[in-house]
Amino acid sequence: MIREASSRSALEISRAVNEGQLRLEDMANAALESIDAGHKVLNTQVHWNRAEVSDSLKEQIKTLESSLRSKKNLPLAGVPFLIKDNIMVAGEIASCGSRFLSNHRAAYDATVITRLKAAGALLCGRTNMDEFGMGSSNENSAYGPVRNPWNKEYVAGGSSGGAAAAVSAGLVPVALGSDTGGSIRQPASFCGIYGLKPTYGRVSRYGLVAYGSSFDQIGPLARSIRDLALVYDVIAGPDPLDSTSHNLSAESSLERLSAEPQDLKGIKIATVREYLGDGLNPEVHAAFQRALEVYKSRGATIVDVSLPLLKLAIPTYYILATAEASANLARFDGVRYGVRTQDPNLSLKEMYTRSRSEGFGKEVKQRIMLGTYVLSAGYYESFYGKAGRIRAAIRQELESVFKGGVHLIASPTAPTTAFRLEQKTQDSLSMYLSDVYTIVANLAGLPALSHPIGCDSQGLPIGLQLMAPMFDENILLRSALQYEEQERPDLQPRGIFA
């Protein structure tokens, strides 16, 4: 059963369902079976309740069958999906990996969920994550860390660790994650799969619990570029409920993948000088260089650029994102939802403070305090104000690279492969530094994609990140597809259930 679900791509499943060759019940049962088994060893899910999901699937199948009868060819017909725990699905618990929201049932559907449902997806549960998206290892979840399918002693990455591990382990073909500083791409890289962070404004954020509002984007994780494109096509596009969503209708990137030339002639890929020095693991570096050779062999030219401001990306990001987070998390006060402290004899302020202190984890408190600090009287200009200006300058620096004829900027997705559980939990700063390559795309709003390029000597996956100009997701998908088709990287972690 597990093998069956895991071996199929989303594209195959939807084709089979649309052609009547795969029964929805069978697909749903297989998915339930594999998620249940996978979760037991990897802790990919939160609030996993097989019976509840099974009931929900029966309802979903009923609705889906009737729409399949009236409307042929739903792009995600019968494709089992997992949703990151910070995206609203009406009626389901949405806890953002936090104890504070452990009893919070979403009252509405996120826009991406409305779209997935209309496209025929089967929602099979919620994936584990770093609390409110704050983390790079999934160890900041109130529901325990996610284990890496390639080696269970290692982290899956974060914050979309549950989604990445589940897709990697073959529990589902695709999942939705969210990416504020690398939270789709870094776990995708650590787990040896594909992850796409679309351009800021490309996918509606309505129904995504905000961490850093000017950084957050929802995106897909998958085991192939075509599946990534399939899901991306469904979720992208304007939304009147999100004022920052772009009013540009996305064309079908999946169709374009087949129509585009099957090589990369004329494509110029830049590497960044400042990226390839200190802190970059040599094995990762070597794998990255080998991957560039593959791109070259497909016709791309590789150039080297200098982006001196990028060394400021991490402090800039952590100032701005935590500032936004400190405000975004102020609504968690125990008045309207979430877990209020049990002590009934508290003043209002004590009730607020106690509820928040009991409900939030260590890292979340730290980031709220950081954000509060950088916005507080006397510090605003030198922190928030300054960081805002540097962000704009970084944007300009990247823009000028693309204006100079570069189509893509390539780097490793992360400076290292997955690290051991608990290796970095006592040192926030070193954890923050692992986002060095991914953060830039969020600062500048650019689309970026991570794809697997092999494993290190310990058998842990290595990822490569491509970053493209605003709203040019197509070139990301098209180029990564060239790599995928030539290299056919082995995406199958072994011994998960051993």
Binding site: N86, G207, A210, S213, L241, T244, A327, A330, R331, Y380
Partner: protein
Amino acid sequence: MKDGASGYKSLLERYEPVIGLEVHCQLKTESKLFCSCKTQFGAAPNQNTCPVCLGLPGVLPVLNRQAVDYAVLMAIAVEAKIREKSVFARKQYFYPDLPKGYQITQYDLPYCENGRLQLDSGRSILIERIHMEEDAGKNVHGDNASYVDLNRAGIPLLEIVSAPTIEGPQEAHEYLRKLRAIVRYLDISDGNMEEGSIRCDANVSIRRRGDKKLGTRTEIKNLNSFKSVERAITYEIFRQADLLDSGEKVKQVTLLFDTASGRTQVMRSKEDSHDYRYFPEPDLGLVSIDSARLKAIKAKIPELPEQKQIRFQTAYGLSEDDARQLTDEKELAAFFEAILEKVDAKVSPKIVANWILSEYLREHNARHWTWDKPSIDAENFASLLRYLGEGTISGKIAKGVFETMAESGTSAESIIKAQGLVQISDGAAIRTIVRQVIDENRDQVALYLSGKEKVLGFLVGQIMKLSQGRFNPGLANQYLKEAIDEFSRGA
């Protein structure tokens, strides 16, 4: 504490009050500022809410175009500078009526600055800034707990901030009344202080006459009637003067006005003042008010109180005072002009104005009429004035008829006919009564003939009394004189 007008006068010889007002004005949109919930007043708790204004996780604001258009109308009306690209910000503090833990408001880049509002004295009050923001909900306090109702949360507000150049409680009152008139003329707000659609905070300080430096100010919160504004400011000026007189210092505090005791009470001191940690709202883009939009909105500006007052003076020959009173409220001015349209040249604008400002307003206020439900409409009122102008009824009768109209809501015509109040101009009928009065008042007639002309008035009064006021007083007068002449020649 000294009190009363004389105390205040002597205080003013020593101190100069400096007052600034912060006015929050609810805009009359159908839906809220950032979500599509109703703005209607009076629903059960939390019935006008949605994920956005409940501050549920994951929601995002979407700006209401009408609210921005209304805001621009206000800016144009006070001749302010409008910023083409303005920015929303988050103002952060924890309070149960603030569901997101921050208010979406405008901070250092508001859409509107440097407006002005002219007082009757001719002095202009500078409006430093106007900005858009969302209203908070309401906390209701019980004995052991408080209860949160978010129906009001997210209703669009304009915050209108005056420069500290208001010189006294009465000026504050006038400024506020004029602001209210403008928003009502523009039809962008109900402008009702008692229902909270206009709310006012006052910054009050005083300085010794001749001092350049401003004194320490206090802020009085939540003044919810015109009267409270005046009372609270007066109280606060006296309080500060007493402190300074006795050599103490005014502390910078936030105060609440207690309407029952008429005193201000400390709510919080400067030390625990908030650090709001403003920063630009990342969920919204710029508020864009370009020249095309501005032009389109400008075209919708109606005649405003000031302009209307001037027109009433020049076109209708009204006094400045009458014109100002009539234009104080848009509906009153409209009522005046509607009546004017329905009467002929025999009824002058001055007469219409007098009738409205005395008779009509008295009943309007005493009977708590509202403009959407007047008990006497313009046509009915005009017909009464027409009867008066044509001489069908006398002024005295007209007043009586008007009272009956106010009481019963029936038409002037039916009252006059039913009660037989039509003025009598029939010579024979009047002459009969004239003769009767002369016969019964020989002494008075003799006095008149001896040169005491005042007596004539008494005699006319007697005639009118006997006619129950229905004789045409001019004719009564004329016939009386004729009859006395005749009498004296005959005698």
